[in-house]
């Protein structure tokens, strides 16, 4: 499209301003992690590394981090299996009720977290009679993570078409061989992207977590919520947030690179 110089500059400026606004609060969090003020008052009265020292020694934060990683990995793996199966079924077969299955997959993320939270809490405790613990949390997270894997896998399966799979079967490969050698290699990066999104979704979730984690199960968001308003602890929370935001760029960059490469290869 012929995009005029003026339009280019205007859109570019808007993008820069919006990105600036996106990062402004994160910048404030960073400043808070080195500010001598505990209440985030502006401008910062002075700077200190005290909070960084405290944060790096905070056992509670690191235990919570470990718990969050465990829950996020377990629920992403479950979501990867279930999401891939559902995507294969909906992209490769015709059947009655397709739209309903699609809605069923989207529903856990589309309904408000608090509804999902109290529904699962009620079901676990009164219907199934199980104690809330790590497993109830993983089951809850996996349920709303399926959709991210499903959407990525479904889009890729639709884009790559069925010709290669048919060719593989015509050449005598069985169903599993075709999946292993033809479908899966095409799908890999979409699954990685979906899995990473699922991981991120689980890692940061607080509302469903509040209702489905057993006593003693403290994920990082729960730890942050418990510590955010404690005097002395707010800046420590800010340090942890800065560390997470910086670390997050690595998996994102990898996923981005992989999906971009694959999408080009598929569309060619």
């Amino acid at each position: 499209m012929q995009i005029g110089r003026v339009a280019r500059y205007v859109l570019g400026t808007i993008t820069v301003v919006v990105l600036g606004l996106i990062y402004l609060p994160l910048g404030v969090v960073f400043l808070n992690s080195i500010s001598t003020s505990e209440t985030l008052s502006w401008p910062p009265p002075g700077f200190t590394l005290e909070w960084w020292g405290k944060a790096l020694q905070s056992e509670g934060a690191f235990q919570a981090l470990g718990m969050s990683v465990l829950v996020a990995i377990a629920s992403s793996l479950i979501a990867l299996v279930l999401g891939t199966l559902a995507a294969m079924a909906l992209s490769r077969y015709r059947f009655f009720g397709k739209e309903s299955v699609n809605l069923l997959i989207v529903l856990p993320i589309a309904l408000p977290g608090i509804v999902t939270g109290i529904a699962l809490n009620n079901a676990f405790r009164t219907l199934m009679g199980v104690q809330l613990g790590v497993w109830t949390l993983i089951v809850a997270h996996a349920t709303f993570c399926i959709v991210t894997v499903y959407n990525n896998a479904f889009a890729r399966l639709n884009a790559s078409g069925t010709r290669l799979e048919e060719a593989s079967q015509d050449l005598g490969a069985g169903l599993f061989t075709t999946f292993r050698l033809v479908t899966f290699p095409h799908l890999k990066s979409a699954l990685l992207a979906g899995g990473l999104l699922a991981f991120a979704l689980s890692f940061d979730e607080i509302i469903v977590t509040t209702f489905t984690a057993g006593p003693g199960v403290t994920t990082l968001p729960l730890w942050i919520l418990q510590n955010m308003f404690r005097p002395n602890q707010a800046p420590v929370v800010a340090v942890i947030a800065v560390i997470l935001a910086v670390l997050s760029v690595v998996p994102l960059a990898i996923a981005q690179r992989l999906t971009a490469k694959d999408a080009e290869a598929v569309s060619r």
Partner: protein, 288 residues
């Protein structure tokens, strides 16, 4: 049985393959989610023993009638809907030009960096971002410091604070599907439109917008439904503002009245289902 013989057995039986693929996810979602949701809806028609605080299986429409007719619930529902719609509209208005720039103007290298720049904040904890806004909005915060020379005040903690914070939180979720939507519009079409004499603006309205409508709706589902159920942001930057999520939370926690909480949650469930039904035809659910 070897995998080979399983494969040979399954190959001509498409229905059986489909059943094998579909059973685990549908069983999981059905058993875990649909059953839980149905149980919650049923609970809305039960009651709580005033002495013991236990849920009693005693059928009554009292909770549902109260929620549907009570003035408190009407006010809070309208407020929540207003906030959710406002947040969605703000996010779309901000997201469309940014997504367009990312997909159609930025060079590929720059594009990757921009995608990462938009996605990275999603990993900084939701709570920390809300807390950052609490700091920004406070009477000693950056906003007050920046606008006070002009004789203005920070909006402080209230509805404006909630709308600003929620718009900020969900913006990346809205930018990404719209970006993907613009990215799927082939440059050839834009060139064809230009060759046929359309000006940039005409191309945008007549060619591009119809194609990215599902993507915009997909983005709006995130902003709308995430806002509709939020209670934590309201608690931190909303002052005394109450949204539907807060009413549900109070009744589950402090008031210990699950049936009433379940009855209140029928409102957001109903709104979301209506919204999903309205947008289902556009194919937006597949662009999430």
């Amino acid at each position: 049985m070897t995998t080979r013989s399983v494969s040979a057995f399954l190959a001509p039986r498409r229905r059986l393959q489909l059943a094998g693929l579909l059973t685990p996810p549908v069983l999981w979602l059905g058993l875990v989610y649909v059953v839980a949701l149905a149980a919650l809806l049923v609970t809305a028609f039960w009651t709580v023993d005033e002495l013991t605080g236990q849920v009693q299986i005693e059928w009554t429409t009292e909770n549902v009638v109260e929620v549907l007719t009570g003035a408190l619930y009407r006010t809070v529902t309208l407020r929540t809907l207003g906030i959710a719609i406002l947040v969605t509209v703000i996010d779309i208005i901000v997201a469309v030009p940014v997504a367009f720039f990312m997909a159609k103007i930025a060079r590929p290298r720059m594009r990757h960096l921009l995608v990462i720049a938009v996605l990275a904040p999603l990993w900084a904890s939701y709570l920390v971002k809300v807390y950052a806004w609490r700091a920004l909005l406070s009477s000693e915060g950056l906003i007050e410091w920046a606008v006070s020379p002009f004789g203005l005040d920070t909006p402080g903690y209230g509805i404006v604070g909630v709308v600003l914070t929620l718009s900020y939180l969900w913006l990346p979720y809205v930018i990404m599907p719209i970006y993907a939507g613009f990215d799927r519009v082939p440059d050839r079409l834009l060139e064809a439109s230009a060759d046929l004499g359309a000006k940039g603006w005409t191309t945008l309205v007549a060619v591009v917008l119809p194609m990215i409508r599902p993507a915009i709706i997909a983005g709006s589902i995130f902003a709308f439904s995430l806002s509709l159920g939020d209670y934590i942001t309201t608690g931190i930057v909303g002052g005394t503002t109450q949204m539907l999520g807060n009413l549900v939370y109070t009744n589950v926690g402090a008031a210990n009245n699950l049936p009433l909480a379940a009855a209140i949650s029928l409102i957001p469930i109903g709104i979301i289902l209506l919204y999903l039904a309205a947008v289902r035809r556009t194919g937006a659910l597949r662009s999430l």
